[in-house]
Symmetry: C2
Subunit: 153 residues, 2 copies
DNA sequence: CAGAAAATGAAAATGGTTATCAATAGCAAA
DNA sequence: TTTGCTATTGATAACCATTTTCATTTTCTG
């Protein structure tokens, strides 16, 4: 097997002319093993035990690369710290959106009610694309509110 | 007429125990007159001719206050600079969402297809609230893509 | 109008993210 | 396998939007 082509993401990266490095592999590995949304620093800390050599700079650079190549999705929930997770195509999570607690900043993934969403999104995308002459590549749906624990406070 | 109660927002602010100041009035005025989404700096520059005394700090502080009191809505499109606009209740725009061009960062407001959205949102909010025991206060829907001009480049 | 408390401006601090640059590592070709 | 070109990296400094600090000014109540 050609070097670095053991994963879909490896194929994708080398296919785009990027090199397969231990840092990149380690970062994707952390993302693969986690079911949460991780910040750059989360990843840095997680990695630091096994790979003390990998600096924050590399994490940021790699994440940007992975976002560009469609391997990772970046989310900003308005609390000043971007969060990352593998995209549907490269991760193990299915299509989902986010429920964000404004108080404790917990993020809940949900995959419910997707039939309704897909219907709505498809229709809206089509209409918007036509009316505004826009090529729509993606969408974000976030619900904001208070989780049970924070309501009790 | 009691001092500072000439506008709905004035009533809201003083009703919440906040003072009516020239700075706050000027900031809301800029937002009222604009039909775009303004950043703190946009507002600062716009204000600087008539109110050279109002500093960026005050803009940020005031915007936060206005967001807290529900007079202003804050948006982050992932390009590192928050944008603000009056909420439906205090502005003149009706319920709308945003189409964001990833290339030129233009924001298009759209109010189309709202019937579909409201149906979908209502149903989903209700379902999510129940399933995840979440009190949902709001939602964000953004579509990302490329506008006509940027596709031509 | 006086006094208490809130609001403000200037300047410095913060904190996440990005640029710089010399050193290192991946990989294609020999 | 070795070589050589280049992409990649780490450390550090720079960035830049946003916050904090604190002394001063303004608002508003009594």
């Amino acid at each position: 097997m050609p070097h670095g082509h053991g994963h879909r993401w490896g194929q994708k990266l080398s296919g785009c002319g990027f090199r397969l490095t231990v840092g990149r592999e380690a970062i994707i590995d952390v993302l693969s093993r986690s079911d949460k949304h991780l910040s750059a620093e989360d990843i840095f800390l997680e990695l630091h035990a096994d790979h003390p050599g990998i600096g924050l700079t590399t994490i940021y650079r790699t994440l940007e690369l992975l976002v560009q190549t469609g391997i990772v999705a970046k989310f900003e929930f308005g609390h000043g710290r971007a969060k990352y997770e593998l995209t549907e195509e490269y991760g193990k999570k299915k299509h989902h959106h986010h429920l964000f607690c404004k108080s404790c900043q917990t993020i809940i993934d949900y995959s419910d009610f997707m039939e309704d969403e897909i219907t709505y999104i498809k229709k809206t995308e089509k209409g918007l694309a036509k009316k505004y002459d826009f090529q729509i590549d993606g969408h974000i749906i976030n619900f904001y509110g208070l989780c049970r624990a924070c309501r009790a406070k």
